[in-house]
């Protein structure tokens, strides 16, 4: 598997040479799952059709969203590699005004204060489907250089970086890869872009805005574990993300970055893409493997772990797409650079989706260890009224009180569950008990039914919570708590084990409070 010395980097340099020089001036329209639902296609069409824009010859590009989804549809004016102007909440009839403003002096760079934008650095600011542009930004260079070295060097660097899985489990990537390497080839790399967790849209942003960053990460990971087959599993609802990724893979293949003997090396790797069709259980990695094998998506009993017995029984590393984007950057900039930010035990940055009753919902990138309060402040605080609670980590995450928001967001915190990274702000107008029942109902409906504690337990939990004054009645409350314990400890997979989380955290942090609502008047 050793690459011929010097050749891959030289081949990359030739590709870079052919990629030409940057485009001096461009308009970038946010376009993707968030912006499209706010009318992006019409804005794009209006700008492209505008006579003044056409006369000027300025390219109008469908870009990703820079994370300020609240401002969609946004239009960015980029000059000489800098965003110099930014229009928010643009309607199609503003095209003429934007065209007229192009001659106004603009050179102050648009920034994103409070964020540490590494993975999102180029998201929204580039043409996601332009491989030449990706090469000019240095994409695939780190991969080419890695090809000239030993795969083991990549694994060492990742291990030094302390990178952990960004899908929500935060398992050390280096250990997972070593586990995979301990088993015989052929090995597979499965990329989890399923992202079926209500409230989480960060992988979509990454794929819609900078697919080549994720592809480079896939190739580096595949080289590290000696996988010649990569399968990307994309959420069936994330068609924009999936189709941009597919086109980017095709472009990369055409340039010899994917396929046989990549960049003249002895490493060959093919990337295939497949769509899911819904189901929260696909967030469990072995259920995802079952789905890829054409079976009902249900978790497998572990061990054996996927690194030993994964896709079609072969050793398989399953990595989240944010993890792979970070992988590309670790190899590009080095482990030390990666460790410059983040919490001591948990280096690096994290993408966080912020939604609910917040002034500026969106996707932000912050160092691990940032507090939830800081993140909510970045998004403008509560939209209207005081914060009652924050749901962290999705429908099987935890409900957190406003006074608990100053804890650093790190994996494995016993109060603030980070999960795959989301904060849903719930203000005082909401009926929190009904909200919790809704989450419990979601977890019951999404139970795959394979194991009894989850299948039956989650359903009974919904029934119990539906009883009049359930948590005010000591007997019922005790029953609920006991049932939560059974589901959490006896379910087969992580999803079942986490299903009672919202109910438990609600009871612990909200209902038992002395000065809580009527329901909280626990006997």
């Amino acid at each position: 598997m050793t690459a011929a010395i010097g050749s891959a980097a030289a081949a990359w340099a030739a590709l870079r040479e052919a990629a030409g020089t940057p485009i001096p001036e461009r308009l970038l329209v946010s376009s993707g799952s968030c912006a499209d639902s706010a009318g992006s296609p019409a804005v794009l069409a209006a700008l492209r059709a505008d006579p003044a824009v056409r006369a000027r010859g300025i390219p109008v590009v469908a870009a990703g969203c820079d994370g300020r989804c609240h401002a969609a549809v946004t239009v960015l004016l980029r000059r000489a590699g800098k965003t110099v102007r930014r229009w928010e909440r643009v309607a199609p009839d503003q095209a003429t005004a934007i065209a007229a403003a192009l001659d106004e002096p603009a050179d102050a760079e648009v920034t994103y204060p409070g964020q540490t934008r590494r993975l999102l650095r180029d998201v929204g600011a580039i043409d996601p489907l332009n491989l030449d542009e990706a090469l000019r930004r240095g994409r695939y260079r780190a991969f080419a250089e890695a090809l000239d070295g030993e795969p083991g060097a990549v694994v060492d660097e990742i291990e030094r970086s302390g990178l952990t899985g960004r899908g929500g489990a935060y398992f050390p990537v280096g250990i997972k890869w070593r586990g995979c390497l301990a088993n015989d080839a052929p090995r597979y790399l499965v990329v989890n872009a399923e992202e079926g967790e209500p409230g989480v849209v960060k992988d979509r942003h990454l794929l819609e805005g900078d697919p080549h960053l994720v592809i480079e990460g896939m190739l580096i990971a595949a080289y590290a574990i000696g996988a010649e087959r990569v399968v990307v599993y994309v959420n069936g609802h994330a068609r924009t993300a999936g189709e941009r990724l597919r086109r980017a893979i095709d472009d990369a293949r055409e340039c010899g970055l994917v396929g046989e003997r990549i960049l003249g090396s002895s490493f060959s790797c093919e990337i295939a893409l497949t769509y899911g069709a819904g189901g929260y259980v696909l967030g469990e990695e072995s259920a995802l493997l079952e789905s890829l094998e054409g079976r009902r998506p249900m978790p497998r009993a572990k061990p054996p772990l996927p690194v030993k017995h994964g896709l079609f029984g072969r050793p398989t590393a399953i990595n989240n797409c944010e993890t792979l984007a970070a992988t590309a950057q670790v190899i590009e900039h080095g482990a030390e650079w990666f460790r410059e930010v983040g919490a001591e035990r948990w280096p690096g940055t994290k993408l966080v989706t912020v939604s609910g009753n917040v002034a500026r919902p969106g996707v932000v990138e912050i160092p691990l260890g940032t507090t939830a309060r800081e993140i909510i402040a970045l998004c403008g605080g509560a939209s209207d009224g005081a914060i009652q609670a924050v749901l962290t980590g999705g429908p099987s995450g935890s409900l957190v009180r406003p006074d608990q928001l100053d804890r650093p967001l790190v994996p494995r915190d016993e109060i603030v569950f980070l999960g795959s990274g989301n904060l849903t702000v719930i203000d005082e107008r909401q009926d929190l008990a009904a909200f919790v029942r809704g989450l419990a109902a979601f977890n019951a409906a999404e139970s795959c039914g394979k194991c009894t504690p989850c299948r039956e337990g989650t359903r009974v939990l919904v029934d119990l919570l539906g009883r009049m004054d359930a948590v005010a009645t000591p007997g019922t409350r005790a029953e609920i708590e006991a049932l939560c314990e059974v589901v959490a400890s006896a379910s087969l997979c992580g999803l079942g084990q986490m299903a009672p989380n919202p109910v438990r955290s609600w009871l612990t942090h909200f209902v038992a409070r002395p000065a809580a609502s009527e329901e909280g008047a626990d006997a």
Partner: protein
Amino acid sequence: METDDANRRHGRGGLGFRTNGHVVAETPGDERQTRFRERLTEFPRERGQLLPALWAAQETLGWVTGEAIVAIAGRLRIPVSEVDGVASAYPDLQRAEPVPTVRVCSGPACTCTGAELLATALARGVRIERVPCLFACTQAPAIEIGEHVYGRMTVGRAIRLAASALPEGDER
């Protein structure tokens, strides 16, 4: 393979459709049927192709029909019952002819931003379905009509959109 032979014995092998009580269903137009059969012949006979083949059925025929289940089973050499079982495990695969519906998101962000009000108001005029999440969380509340997601919905806008997108007379 054994399954394929079993299917053939029961007259369900290959692409020859046979409807029995379980799989009988309304049939989309012949032209779409032909297109689906053609697409199906391009699928490698591998079990891993099952979900992509089910998507092909939904995309070509509009929904996963009983005949499509049988055809896929024949092509991929998987028992019909297993294909049916897999298809039923995915909420995004339609198992009956789709009726015009407004899907209202009931994810956490939309719940906090008035999704239930939208659902109640829309339900007076059109068929609605509450879905777990439309993944437009940063544009909450969101609804979906056909394949298009609309964000930042108000009751007024939702009713106007539903009225213009759904055929008349679909009141219930």
